[in-house]
């Protein structure tokens, strides 16, 4: 009996020791990954999308041969600086809460005369087939670099969107009974070498949300929040998330508001 107790204590002590060693190497791994990210951030290929976005913003296009220069992103017609940090928000002219991509779609239709079908023909780029939304998002996001996230919930529709987003975040569904919270509801978790931010924790939420849109090295493309949510749905084996849908906007409101106070740093570089 006593031998067993001593053996058990020894096992416990060894277990605790190796746990500490594992925690140390986890921290070193994280440091290594951070260094890699810093090295990549120099001359981020997202700059190429940003430059194309700036051109698209100013170019006269569509049946109305008009530019997007008068598009109101929430801070007044044509005001791009700081706009991303306050999105999503309620827009009276559409009587709807909109995130950036939904608002861009609105302006493409209202100002440039494109049909919604034409404008959304290519929402996510793929090699030679480019997406105007990705380029424009990179451009608009870059103009909010350094600004603090400041998403308001004053309007009742903004509050409703937040609550719907929260509900969606915790909603388990699909063939794997997945919710966003399954991966993103606990701290200090990772999948293989990708650390998972706990999106219900303020600091993690700030760090995660302010890094999108981002150049995804593995995709070779600049990806946006609409893409990120669409891909989460794919990973959860949910039905495809519709571009600029109420669900996508509601989830974005939930995530963006949780990130309030965080300093916006997008476009960044990611794996």
């Amino acid at each position: 009996m006593r031998k067993g107790l001593v053996a058990a204590l020894v096992v416990l002590a060894l277990g605790a020791g190796s746990g500490h060693a594992r925690a140390q190497s986890d921290a070193d791994t994280l440091k290594g990954i951070e260094k890699y990210r810093e090295a990549l951030a120099d001359d981020n290929p997202a700059d190429l999308w940003e430059a194309r976005g700036a051109e698209l913003w100013a170019a006269r296009r569509g049946p109305k041969s008009s530019s997007l220069a008068q598009c109101d992103l929430g801070k007044g017609p044509g005001v791009v600086k700081g706009a991303y940090a306050e999105l999503p928000r309620y827009f009276a002219d559409a009587d709807r809460v909109m995130d950036l991509e939904t608002r861009l779609l609105h302006c493409m239709v209202a100002l440039q005369g494109f049909s919604a079908a034409e404008a959304t023909r290519r929402t996510f780029g793929n090699g030679g087939s480019r997406s105007d939304f990705e380029a424009l998002s990179a451009f608009v996001a870059a103009q909010s670099k350094g600004a603090k996230m400041n998403v308001s919930l004053e309007h009742p529709k903004e509050r409703a969107a937040y609550l719907l987003g929260e509900q969606m975040f915790f909603y388990r569904g699909g063939p794997h009974d997945f919710a966003c919270a399954t991966c993103h509801g606990e701290s200090n978790k990772r999948i293989r070498l990708q650390d998972l931010p706990n999106l219900t924790d303020a600091k993690d939420a700030q760090r995660a949300y302010t890094a999108w849109p981002a150049y995804r090295v593995s995709q070779g493309e600049l990806r946006t929040m609409q893409w990120r949510l669409n891909d989460c749905f794919r990973q959860q084996r949910f039905p495809q998330l519709k571009f600029a849908s109420d669900t996508s906007i509601a989830l974005t409101v939930f995530l963006a508001h949780n990130a309030n106070g965080g300093v916006f740093s997008a476009p960044t570089v990611k794996r």
């Binding site: 001359d43 700059d47 190429l48 430059a51 030679g128």
Partner: protein, 103 residues
């Protein structure tokens, strides 16, 4: 006409540090698309950097270089206000030339 390059050139001590971000698919010719047919090779084959009429860097690239290549190099003999030209040519014969000022 291919997308413009982003070139930044700055003085680092007595050398000029040049950083170039090129926009190019850099398709290796090894990949296959959804229908199983090979995606044709399309990559930059030669790069040269010209300063005051003199070639300060020339490179021969192959399919091993990744998409949207980033090139960084230093050279001596340049000063503030000088112009640097970067020229690339790919295997399809497309070419692109962009210029930057040392600042």
């Amino acid at each position: 006409m291919a997308d413009p390059m982003r070139i930044r050139a700055s003085m680092q001590g007595d050398k000029v540090l040049v950083r170039v971000l090129m926009s190019h698919e850099m398709e290796t010719g090894q990949r296959k698309d959804e229908s199983g047919s090979v995606v044709p090779a399309h990559f930059i084959q030669s790069v040269s950097a010209v300063h005051n009429g003199k070639t300060v860097l020339s490179a021969e690239w192959g399919p091993a270089v990744s998409k949207n290549p980033f090139l960084q190099f230093q050279f001596a003999g340049g000063k503030l206000g000088d112009k640097i030209q970067i020229i690339w040519t790919d295997n399809k014969g497309d070419t692109r030339t962009d210029e930057a000022t040392v600042s």
